[in-house]
Symmetry: C2
Subunit: 216 residues, 2 copies
C-alpha cells in the first residue's frame, strides 16, 4: 500500500468532492490539503500548486511523499478502485461497468467542464449571461442521465449497489441547484440522491462537513 | 463475443475518431453508420438518433442488434479494452494505467467539451469571439499535457507502447490546428503524433480515410 496519501481538495469543488466520496466509501486513510479556489487570484494558480498540476485544478492525489502524483477525478477514482477493490465502486458485470462509466462521463465531460469556474469567469468578463447558458447544459445532461438510468437503476443509478455513477451524481445535483436548475424535474435522480444521503460516506464527504468550510 | 457491432460516427468528429482508432488498433470488425453533425439542423438532433443518445452526440456503440448501446468515448474504449484485451491500450502497471487515464481526461474533460460544436454555436450566437476563447483552453490543456508527459513519454505519451492517451492526443492535435493553435509549441506532443501517424490503425481512422468524407 502507498504511504502518506494526500488529497488536495476544497470543500466547494465538485471534482474534489467526488474523490472525497470515493475515499470515504472505501475507508482510505489520507491527509486532506485545502486549496482555496477563490482566495486572492485562486491558490490553484500559485507557482507551488502549478507544479502539482499544470492544469491548476483540484483534485490532486499524492502518494509516497509526493513521488507519485495523479490528477483528474476519473483517473484518481479508477486508480483507487484498482488499489482498494473492496468495497467496489464498479460492478463486476462488464456491461454494467460500461454503463457506470458512461454515466460518469455524462457528468464529468458532458456537464462539469461547462459549469467550471474558469469558463464562468472568462465568459462573465465578456458579458455573457453565464447562468442561463450553464442551466441549458446542465438540464440537457441531467435529462440524458434521467432517461438512460431508467433502464439501469435500482436503489442507485446502476442497480442496488453504490457505483461511481452515484459518486458523480451527488455533487452534480448540488451544483445544479446552486446554478438555479430545478432538480425536481428529474425524479429518478432525486430518488437516488435521497438514498445516497443516507450513507455515512456521502455524509462525510459533503461540503458542509469539510474542515476548510468557513464558519457561516 | 457480441454480434453486429455498429459504430455511429462522423468523419470530422474528434470523439468518434478516438473510437475509430481504438477499434482499428484492436482489429474489431464492425459496421460504421454516418451521422452528419452539420446536415440541416444536425442529424444527431433527429428523433431517431435522440433515442440512441439523449445527449445527441456521437460516438454511439451498438451491440447485439442494438439491444446494448453505449455512449461516451471513454466508456466505449474502456469496454472494448475489457472485451478485446489484446493488443492492449492500457499498460499493465497500475500507476502507468492511472497516468494514461489522467492524460485521457486532460483531453476528454479538460479540453474537448470547451471546443465542442454546441458550445461554439451557442456562444457565437451570443456574439462571443469563440476562436480566441477556445484557443486559450486548448493551449492550457496541451501545455499541461506536454509538461506531464515529459516524465512518462517514450515513443508514445506513456512509454513505448500505444495507449489510450495517444488515441486521444491525435484527434486533439488535429482539432487544435483547425482552431488556429500553433501545435509546434508542443514538441513532445508533435513527436508522438509523428510516431502515431506511422501506424496503420491511426491511418485507417483518420478523417481523410472515412467513406463519409465528402469529395474535395
Amino acid at each position: 500500500m502507498p504511504a502518506n496519501m494526500k488529497l488536495y481538495s476544497w470543500y466547494r469543488s465538485s471534482s474534489a468532492w467526488r474523490v472525497r466520496i470515493g475515499m470515504a466509501y472505501k475507508g482510505i486513510a489520507h491527509e486532506t490539503v485545502s486549496v482555496n479556489l477563490l482566495q486572492g487570484e485562486g491558490e490553484q494558480h500559485s507557482a507551488a500548486f502549478h507544479v502539482k498540476n499544470p492544469m491548476e485544478q483540484i483534485p490532486v492525489l499524492e502518494l509516497d511523499d509526493g513521488s507519485f502524483r495523479l490528477t483528474q477525478s476519473v483517473a484518481i477514482l479508477e486508480f483507487l478502485e484498482e488499489l482498494y477493490p473492496a468495497p467496489a465502486l464498479l460492478p463486476r458485470d462488464m456491461r454494467l461497468r460500461a454503463r457506470v462509466r458512461q454515466f460518469v462521463e455524462i457528468i464529468n465531460s458532458g456537464i462539469q467542464p461547462l459549469q467550471n469556474l474558469k469558463l464562468q469567469q472568462t465568459l462573465t468578463a465578456r458579458g455573457v449571461d453565464f447562468t442561463s447558458l450553464v442551466q441549458g447544459f446542465i438540464e440537457t445532461g441531467l435529462r440524458a442521465l434521467e432517461t438512460a438510468a431508467a433502464a439501469s437503476a435500482g436503489t442507485y443509478l446502476v442497480g442496488d449497489h453504490v457505483t461511481l455513477a452515484d459518486v458523480y451524481l451527488i455533487p452534480q445535483l448540488h451544483q445544479s441547484r446552486l446554478r438555479g436548475v430545478d432538480v425536481e424535474k428529474f425524479p429518478l435522480l432525486r430518488r437516488v440522491e435521497l438514498a445516497c444521503e443516507q450513507l455515512p460516506a456521502f455524509q462525510a464527504a459533503h461540503p458542509n462537513a469539510q474542515p476548510d468550510r468557513p464558519a457561516a
